[in-house]
Amino acid sequence: MKRTVLVIITLGWFFVTLAGCQQEATTAESTAYSVETIETPEGLSVETGGLDFLPDGRLVACFRRGEVMVYNEDTKQWDLFAYGLQDPLGITAVSNHEMLVMQRAELTRITDTDKDGKADLYKTITDDFGMSGNYHEFAYGPEIDKHGNYYIAMNTASALAGVYDIIRGQFSPAGRKGRMYSAVPYRGWVLKITPDGKTIPWASGLRSPNGLEMDDEGNLFVPDNQGDWLGTSKLYHIERDNFYGHAPSLVWEEGFEDIEPLELPVPVLNKMRTKAAVQFPHGFFVNSPTQPLIDRTGGKFGPFSGQMFIGEMNHKRIVRVMLEEVQGRFQGAAVSFIDSTGLSIGNNRLAFSPEGDLWVGQNDHGWSGEQGIQRITWNGIVPMEVLNMSLTKKGFELAFTKPVNSEAAENPSNFIFERYYYEYHQAYGSDRYGIETINVTDAEVARDNKTVKLTLEKLDPGFIYGLRINGLSSQQGDTLSHNRLFYTLNYLKK
């Protein structure tokens, strides 16, 4: 009986796999990258909160029930490094024996001082933020700048649950209001912690900032999730003292002691806020963006070196972001990087291995998602993709990974733009407004056939420009893998 059961399970899995392969065979996506599921230890609830690589090349991961485990890919062996942590949602390896872990309650330096493979010292770096007991008060990070400062981000609480009788930190009745709320300090903030442990409230107005990433110039990027005050999900460039739009966190802003943020007129809040560098259209593209991660593999992971990947919870998708500075501010485009090829949903955490593979830690955590760890490997084949989308004075320039079939690329009707915007308001989410098809009046292919300049009949700030590319392939006939791009136009090129 037992054997039969196992055989059925195996066959079932085989058919699923087979079906997946057949489906993938029709897309160009599957040949450039492959996805492999990593076996995890029995008894582990693989709700991945953090991934990183140790200097010795092993993977370290933390999980919702408090484990920190180290995985040796050569031996396929998992070892327990630390346990008992409170809902850890971020890990950074300092050395082979020391990790920084963001727990619900604190940022902790965890050290194996006697080097027996097990942590023995748990040192609190900061716990200078409040906890109301609301389940939604997650904590994310740390991201570390070149001076050794730590950046962490505090999720707001959910109106679907209350607060405890005994809380940590000051309680704000005004902050308690709203759908997602900030009843204790510094819910909805990014905090900076100096190397000597001083905690500085850095930026406010965030809702669910599930991941932080700093580029090599020290620019900090944080995503946020569609909901109240967020018409759609976003990626922010976080700068000191900025307010990003989710109102309740303003109760912890200096000088706002007697102000009820939710009573402020929306146009005032709108004027105060810093707009997102990138907006991810909700539903059909992204529902819940997670950790951003810049490709620093120097080409080991394919042609997207220097660009940013972002996980997505509800789609079998990882998003690629192309940023540029226009009028001194970041804005840019998003496109699907991978959305089949065997990837799960619940893509919560990303990390590049020293070999240049992208490891993905999945999570569900009581929401829709999935558990597990997967590895995406580049097979050395350059996929036919839009390598970069950038704004010009008259429209957009598209750079491709390979020379394009110029006949198709010269035809403006193969580039279909639709622009729209999401409303900034207290309500949950937003419809798309101002939907308008924008004609491409000219498509000019460069001499090397790798870039195409598009002239648009209308180019205005304040819109997402959604582009659908039809019928385009490389000169060798490879079809474009991902033909839908979304450029967030906040500022025009001067």
Partner: protein
């Protein structure tokens, strides 16, 4: 702890079999319901990969007759001997001395301790034996005596009339330690056995959300609130039930398994310099000392280390304090609990306070014993 693919698979097998076993075989109606036929019941055993039987224990009725079938689904050779209580190790050793002539005798030593045996089975082989269970209630080991197998590949036949009195599987000394640990792991919701002492940071009742639940030996547990840097309460009889909290989004606090016999009623217990001056305090973390956390927190210039251990007699515990940088008198507020005996290693008790000189405060112990 080490983990690899084969042990995962084996554990899955064991769990699956245990499920089948628990559903069909543990049912008292099946065990005791049939007594008229020659064979009271049949138990199916399998030798599986990883030097294991698929069942690590089963129950029989004293005086009944049981048919036991063995199927070898492993790739190695296995047999199965039922031996007299407490004789497994000596039978295994006797079999090992048989050397190269062991195979022709199926590694069954000539010993009165061997009650029943199957021949040595190759892969796919099957055998069946009848076991006439003596009237006495006891535990009969069954074991594979193929060389190097017998120390891990065994199980227990419980001849008992009280099926409810079996020890929990993860605490049963009659089953292999490896299986016991794996069972414990699957029941503890972690990829490792929940041995005491242990520590879990999660939402706890009557606490700030920065609680640290510590399970100690002797079934003593406590909640140390890192949000306020003091011991909240101590209980006796078990650790915590985390199912509610870890099932979904952590809406629910964990449940305490056992009875709270000590509660902090004073808040942060230290006073510095004056009897009523509560110092500012800041949690700094903890160091694991033989599995127990030694908490560290600052109060002004003073650094406190606090290690809580189970007392010699339980319910009870002691707190070992070490204070660095003390140059003022210290008062320590005692909590108000019924049926509790408090002992302090140093200082003098004045009302509900312990008064310590700077010298005494450098190292002292508070012991709290339940007198219920």
């Amino acid at each position: 702890m080490k983990f690899n693919k084969s042990s995962n698979r084996s554990l899955a097998l064991i769990l699956l079999c245990y499920l089948i076993f628990a559903t069909y075989i543990l049912s008292p109606a099946i065990i005791y319901g049939q007594s008229s036929s020659l064979v009271d019941r049949t138990v199916e055993l399998k030798a599986v990969a990883g030097l294991k039987y698929d069942k690590v224990r089963f129950m029989v009725s004293p005086g009944s007759t049981v048919r036991i079938t063995l199927e070898n689904v492993d790739e190695m050779m296995h047999n199965m001997l039922i031996v007299k209580p407490e004789t497994r190790v000596s039978v295994v050793k006797a079999a090992e001395t048989m050397g190269e002539r062991g195979v022709e005798h199926d590694f069954i030593p000539k010993s009165s301790n061997v009650l029943e045996s199957t021949p040595l089975l190759g892969p796919g082989g099957q055998a069946s034996i009848l076991f006439k269970v003596p009237d006495k209630e006891t535990v009969y080991p069954y074991v594979c005596t193929y060389p190097a197998h017998g120390m891990v590949m065994y199980g227990a036949i419980y001849a008992t009339r009280s099926p409810d009195d079996l020890p929990p599987l993860d605490e049963d000394p009659n089953i292999p330690e490896q299986v016991r640990n794996q069972m414990a792991a699957s029941m503890s919701l972690h990829p490792y056995p929940r041995d005491m002492p242990t520590l879990t940071r999660l939402f706890m009742p009557e606490s700030s959300p920065a609680a640290i639940a510590v399970g100690m030996e002797k079934e003593q547990s406590y909640n140390w609130d890192a949000g306020y840097s003091f011991l909240r309460y101590v209980w006796d009889g078990g650790y915590i039930d985390v199912a509610n909290q870890w099932d979904g989004k952590a809406h629910e606090v964990a449940k305490i398994k056992g009875d709270i016999y000590y509660r902090n009623t004073t808040g942060f217990p230290f006073r510095v310099s004056h009897q009523d001056s509560v110092p500012q305090h800041e949690f700094q973390g903890y160091r694991m000392i033989d599995g127990y956390p030694r908490f560290k927190y600052d109060m002004g210039d003073i650094t406190v280390s606090e290690l809580i251990l189970p007392a010699q007699t339980t319910p009870g515990f002691r707190i070992e304090y070490v204070l660095e940088n003390v140059d003022q008198p210290i008062w320590y507020a005692l909590s108000d609990n019924d049926e509790i005996r408090v002992e302090v290693s140093k200082g003098t008790i004045e009302g509900d306070m312990v008064k310590l000189t700077p010298d005494q405060a450098q190292e002292f112990t508070i012991s709290i014993i339940s007198e219920e």
